[in-house]
Structure formats: C-alpha cells, structure tokens
Subunit: 336 residues, 2 copies
DNA sequence: AAGCTTCATGTAATCCTTTTCAGTGGCTTT
DNA sequence: AAAGCCACTGAAAAGGATTACATGAAGCTT
C-alpha cells in the first residue's frame, strides 16, 4: 500500500492541508515546511496524480494526434511538443491515427475522457472537412494540415508556395516535362498538388499528377509505370520523403541517371537527404518552429478562449542538391 | 461543467452504481442497460479517467523511457509499444531522457506519481549499473540495454554476436585493418565494442576503437582525424546509424571510395540504407519483435510478480550491400 | 411451504487530493 | 484599547468514479 498524504501529515504532526500546501506553495511557515519535507523524504511519498487531477479539475495533459510517429516530420514534431509540454509541467498523450477515421474518432473520445487541456492535431482529410460541425470540449490547434481559417487555430507550411518554388527551380535548370507524385491520403498532398498546378500553369508547362498510397513501394511502382511510356518526364516533384525514396529506387532499377535524365525534388530535409544518390533537393520544413508555434497558439487560446482563430503559415527553405544540378551537357562535374 | 455519472443516472432513473456497471460490464438487465445507454448518448457523457484510475487503483498506464524518440530504433519501438498498449486498453507515457541522468531521475519520479502499471526502459549507462539497488514500485522491463540477468526482465539484441558477424563479414571480403567507431553514451555501444574486440582477436586482426558523442557530426570529425594518419584502415564498423552517416560524409569529403578503399558496415536497417552511397551493409534489428516481447514480458511479470527475471536475446540479421561488396581489383562493377 | 441461492439493484464508503471555510494569534491602525 | 488586518493552520467538503455490502425478488430444493 503506497504512502499517502495522510501518512506524511501524521508523521510530520500537521494536517493534510498543510502537506498539500507544501506542494502547491501555499502559505506555510518555515518550520512546518521543513518538518513536512523531512516526512516526505522519510516516507518516500509521491503525490497521486490521478487524485490531484480529479480534485483540481485540471489534467495538465495535452493530446497529440498525428498520422504516424514514424514519419520524420511527426517524429520531430512530437519531440518538440513533448519538450515544450514537460517544460511547463504538462504531459502529452500521443496517438497514431494511420490516417484512419475510426482510429481518429476513438482517440478523440479518449482525449475527452482524459479531459485534456488541449489537442494538437494533424487531422485526416475527412475530419478536416467535418471540423466545423462537431465541437470538442477542449481547444484544438491544427498542425501540418489546416483548411481555411475556421474555428480552430492552425499552423502549417505554405505548401502552395513551397511546391511552386520546386517547380520554378526545376524550370530554371531547364526542365519542362515535370510530373508530380502525391500521396493520396493527407490534405497536405492536395495543397501541394495545387501549388504544382498553378506553378506549371503560370510557366506554361504541361502538368501531370499521380496519386498513390503514402509508401515508398507504391511510389516506386507508379514511377516504373510512368517511365514505361515513351514520353518520359525530365523532372519529378514528390510530395513527401517516402515518395522521394520510391522515386530514387525506381531510377536505380531503370538505370536512369539523376539529374542528367531526370531531376528530382521533394519535401523534408533529413540527415540522409544529402547522401542518397547525388543528394536530394528538398524543401526543408521548420518543424521545430511549427511545433513551438502550435504550443504557443494553444497556450494563448487557453488564456483567451474567445479570441478569433489564428492561422500561422510558415515558409519552407529550398535546399538545392545534386538531384537538381544543372546539366552542362558535356561533362558531369561533381556538384558542391 | 461536464456531465458526470450522476447526471446520467438521474436521467436514466437508476443509481450511479448501475451506470458504472454498464461500463464495467457488471450484471445489468437488458432494459436498464438500454435506458442507461440512451442517457449516455443523450448527455454525451464521457467517464472521467482520473476518477476511475483513482478509485480503481489501476492506472492502466505504462511508461516508455528512451534516449530519444528521433533515433529510428526508438521511433519504431514506441510505435509498436503504443499499438500493443492501446490494444489492451493501456496508455503510454513517453519520455526522452537524452541519456541524461537528471532527466531520467525526474521522469522516474513522474512514473511513480502516475502510478504506472509498468515501465519499459532503455536506461542510461549509469542507471543500468545502479539498477540493482534502488527498487521501484512497479515492474520494469529493460530494452535495448540490459546488463547481466539481474532483478529485471530485459530484451536486447545479441550485440556481441551481431558485431562479431560484421567483423567476420569484413574479414571475409579481405579486410584486415578494421577500426570500430562507437557511441560514448549508451551501454549498447559497450557491448558492441566487446563483440568487436573478441572477433578481431579471434581472427588475429589488429583492433582500434574510437568513442565519440552519438551524432553524425562527431563521427565525421573523428573519422576525418583517423584518415589523416598514414596507416589508413580498410574497413570501419559503426555502432549506430548516426555514426554510419558521419562516416559516409567523411568518405565523401575525403573522396575515398567505398567499398574499394574502405568497406563500411553498421547497425539498423532503414528505408534509405540501401540508397546511401553504394548501399549500406547493416545489421537489421528485429525492432517489432523486441517491442512486442517487451510487452509480453511486462504482462507476464504483472501476472507473476515473483517469477525469476528473464533475459531475452534476439539476433540481428546481416544485410549485405554495396558498402562491403568484394572488390574485384580490376573493374568496378555496379553492385545491385 | 419454509429455507436457500441467485441475480439485479441501490446505498454508502472509499480512493487521495485540493480547496473552502473558519478560526487563532499577533500586529498595526486610529 | 478596540478594531481591523495578515499570515498560518486545521477540519471538512468536494471532485467523479468503483466497489463492498445490504436488500428484495425470483426460482429451486426438499
């Protein structure tokens, strides 16, 4: 049987209220405080967080719902969010939805039962559309995906502009038949698709987009199919890391040279991005900033529940590497 | 004010005990059950988990303490653990220690306050040594790192054997001056170092080990230093993914060819391992099995607290790729 | 038909804190 | 010197569920 606040009080010869006040920095005289602290040390007492949460009606918990923690963007995001949360005495409940609406609904219910203080959420496409209707008993900050400014705060990458800058970059190195490969699950891919469309249009380029399941294998298969046709593209833009890997695999398989025959570019800068093939050109997302901003929005919201919703859009950084190096036409010079 | 079990009881015209029994599948007649369920739906009632945990004296929570969720092994592990946990109605509290003893101690205290049912833990080196002494009020299963069979269950890779197999593999392709690069923080690196030592010794090879901070940059710096000496090694074994990346970077920087001049091998198979340079030879860890086994050990322990501690050792799988392809000596053939 | 189970239900205690409320004693104010 | 204030402290209520125990009705046994 674990020791409770009662045992501590008994041992210190004070009331339980006083012991509680020692933890909550209420007014306690120095002598009593010392006696209590001695008793705590002697008994090895640890306050029961469930009881504390129940009575104080404050869970000190925030939820974090993402598609899959294994996707590097979310890995990094979760790390930032947890650090920020623990720093301000909060705990995080992490959930992986796998872009599955049922799991998402289940976890939302869990969040309610946990009485979370707030939720940081990368919703599935369906939920994003339905978000205006169902209202949740806690504030929500959308990350990574967010529609028009609605009832909820959100912080996202400027996907439209980012993808457009990839297209312009490929165009600037002389590519004209640029196809796009997008995931078919997340709303991010949709935004990136739109950016791709408007950029190709404004440059007067043809456009062709493919949508596949978000896995390297699916991407590889699709690209193999695309390159079995006579009119091969000379540039590919991928809406994610996994797509990018699938593309590189397909290029290897077909023995197509990068960037000579096809230039490749995509999203998310990773430790290994510069080491895959000739180095991958990518848009780097400010994940740390996104996570911290999400926490800021959440805390602000808690302070001012009625304030109008804010949508924060951060811009990515284009990192140019070998996969989009300009081709001299005569000699393959090492880039960098 | 959120609706409580009382409101539901009132609305359904039953006692709170009956409502509680509907949730806990106690004995409730069909009619009452239906009335209660209607009342739940009508009120949108959600049980308060804090209250439930407090009264039932069961947190339904397990802790997961790892060095850093961003390290791919732990990312995958956390995913497996969370899935298994949620499947059996448990929740997970994730903590990143950053190999820092203070953070670790702080989080251990948190685990006690949360009254976790059990803890899955990749302890820092210091904690691993001190583990026999301090005893915790909940069962612990060590993962990734585990000393001799002590008081705690553990599940680890057979690091000794795995590293030895890397050495033997390099030897089999004709390498004789094989150095080892190890992280200086985790106990895993120590085990791998020992495997390296005994394998080189048994093969009659020279050995030289370097220990650096667990980052690609530190690894790169160290390797640059090593290769500034006249007697360059012809093989390198790295104790982790990050080390491996640092080595590849150094090789690029120095324009040293892999595997011709130096063969490279390390740990953890990732999506991109086959795409970095000529493809990286690695030991693949059965992360999923490790995670599931850890959960199994934990649940078994809960059923039989007094049973003797078990140490489960799983073996890795050697995946040979271009970075350790045998060199023909005449022509550089592309390795598949 | 009396007595014994069994099943469904309600009442009240309990889990462990925080928080409200009501002092108590000592100081300052007027 | 009475009044008011302040800083501490303790007793008790409250938070929202589960569960031990009591009760009453129904079904069985003999």
């Amino acid at each position: 049987m674990a020791t409770s606040i009662k045992d501590v009080a008994l041992r210190a010869g004070v009331s339980v209220a006083t012991v509680s006040r020692v933890f909550g920095n209420g007014p306690v005289s120095p002598e009593l405080r010392e006696r209590v602290e001695k008793a705590i040390a002697a008994t090895g007492y640890r306050p029961n967080l469930s009881a504390r949460r129940l009575r104080s009606r404050h869970s000190h918990t925030i939820g974090l719902m993402v598609a899959d923690i294994r996707s590097p963007f979310f890995t990094e995001l979760s790390r930032v969010v947890e650090d920020e949360a623990y720093r301000s005495g909060m705990r995080v409940i992490l959930c992986n939805t796998d872009e599955n609406a049922d799991r998402e609904a289940m976890y939302l219910r869990l969040m309610e039962e946990e009485r979370v203080t707030g939720l940081i959420w990368a919703p599935t496409r369906g939920s994003l559309e339905r978000l205006a209707e169902d209202d949740l008993p806690f504030p929500v900050v959308l990350v990574d995906r967010g529609g028009p400014v609605g009832r909820h705060d959100s912080v996202v990458l400027d996907n439209h502009q980012a993808t457009a800058s990839l297209v312009h970059h490929l165009h600037s190195i002389g590519r004209s038949r640029i196809v796009g490969l997008f995931g078919n699950a997340s709303s991010t891919a949709i935004d990136r698709h739109l950016g791709y469309l408007s950029a190709t249009a404004s440059l007067g380029l043809s456009s062709e987009a493919f949508f596949v399941a978000p896995s390297a294998e699916a991407a590889e298969r699709e690209i193999l199919k695309v390159f079995s046709r006579p009119d091969r593209p000379d540039g590919i833009i991928a809406s994610s890391n996994l797509m990018l890997l699938g593309i590189v695999k397909a290029m290897r398989r077909l023995d197509i040279r990068t960037p000579d025959d096809v230039a490749i570019a995509g999203f998310d800068n990773e430790t290994w991005s510069e080491l895959v093939g000739p180095g991958l050109t990518v848009i780097e997302q400010p994940v740390g900033d996104i996570g911290r901003m999400a926490m800021t929005l959440l805390f602000d919201r808690l302070k001012a529940p009625k304030a109008p919703a804010r949508k924060v859009m951060l811009s990515g950084r284009l990192i140019v590497r070998g996969s989009t190096a300009p081709v001299t036409g005569l000699v393959d010079e090492p880039v960098d």
